[in-house]
């Protein structure tokens, strides 16, 4: 097993960042995003899942976009396999976060199975923004803990609230899911490549909706990603190693 050395972002001469400042960063992100568990709890219960099912999703899946995708697909009448496949593919980005984090945090082997559950957009963003390994570890842990506790608590309260409200659509709560997706998507639309991918995916997702079984059009829309890369590769011809844009 090759020993992984520190990635280039960590330099010896970097001034130390106070632990309290790291925790403050982490709490800011954790609280803001953790509260949006309300939206998930309401959406999930409004989609017909029980409170227990809703809470189990937040406890065990703990990656928001996948959770919203799953309950949306189930509500639309998708079978459990296509619904889970859509949620799974959305979750694959976490593998790439884990790859970055394993170099940055240098976690002992025994800790990794536990840390893995917290490898998500927000913990990665906070950890990667820190100037040292110590700060990255504190940032990852504080964000993960805050977010996990709040996300599960607000999921439960949101599900309870949805049951109490009854018709969630009358309150406009069926718009929460797509709004969450749009909010996650917007910062990703950095270049023409991303915008073209999104545009094609929208056309595929809507165009195939009337003709394919529920849940399948989203998976078909995912093909927009390799299609755009392929078209781009043909246009630019082989250029060797490209600069990493992330």
């Amino acid at each position: 097993m090759a020993e992984q050395t520190a990635p280039p972002v960590i330099r010896d001469g970097t001034p130390a960042k106070p632990d309290a400042a790291v925790v403050r960063d982490a709490l800011g992100v954790g609280v803001a995003v953790g509260l949006s568990g309300f939206a998930f709890g309401v959406t999930s219960a409004g989609s017909g899942l029980s409170i227990l099912q809703t809470c189990v999703l937040s406890l065990l899946v703990f990656t928001g976009a996948s959770q919203f995708a799953l309950v949306g697909a189930l509500a639309a009448g998708g079978n459990p396999f296509t619904a889970a496949a859509g949620a799974f593919f959305l979750g694959t980005r976490n593998a790439f976060y884990g790859l970055r984090l394993s170099q940055l945090l240098a976690l002992p082997k025994a800790v990794r199975p536990f840390a893995a559950h917290w490898v998500i957009d927000e913990t990665t963003a906070v950890a990667l923004a820190q100037p040292s390994r110590r700060a990255a570890r504190i940032g990852f842990t504080a964000t993960g803990l805050t977010l996990y506790v709040l996300w599960n608590l607000t999921t439960f309260l949101g599900a309870l609230g949805a049951e109490a409200i009854g018709d969630t659509a009358a309150w406009g709560l069926d718009a929460a899911g797509p709004a969450v997706f749009l909010a996650l998507l917007a910062p990703m639309l950095k270049s023409a490549t991303e915008r073209a991918t999104a545009g094609i995916a929208v056309l595929l997702g809507l165009g195939l909706l009337p003709v394919l079984p529920a849940g399948v059009p989203v998976l078909a829309a995912a093909l927009a990603a390799p299609a755009v890369l392929w078209a781009q590769g043909r246009r630019t011809a082989p250029t060797g190693r490209e600069k990493d844009s992330r």
């Binding site: 949006s36 189990v56 593998a95 406009g172």
Partner: protein
């Protein structure tokens, strides 16, 4: 029962990809093409999901109050509003438009 199967598959699958990232030796996923595909896949999925959950009812395409809600969310995003405000705007506008009988 179907719902529990979907939950179990999603929980298991999502945990395993998270763990894989921490365990896989660096380099395996470092090829530029793999990295770019991984960055684009969520873009495609999120775009399709946003459109479907806004403009569909079952397997039919519809234009209803949710479209107004999503437009409100888009405006909030352009104004750099915080996450919760974006979602709140979508919910409030959808409810308002629906209350007007649309």
């Amino acid at each position: 029962m179907n719902v529990w199967i979907a939950i179990a598959l999603t929980a298991g699958g999502c945990y395993l990809v998270k763990l894989a990232g921490l365990l896989v030796p660096a380099g395996a996923l470092e090829r530029p093409l793999v990295q770019r595909l991984a960055a684009l896949l969520p873009v495609a999925l999120l775009a399709a999901l946003t459109a479907q959950q806004t403009f569909s009812a079952g397997d039919a395409l519809v234009l209803d109050a949710r479209a107004a809600g999503l437009a409100a969310a888009a405006v909030a995003l352009v104004l750099r509003a915080p996450f919760l405000v974006v979602v709140g705007a979508a919910v409030a506008v959808t409810a308002g438009v629906r209350a007007l009988g649309w």
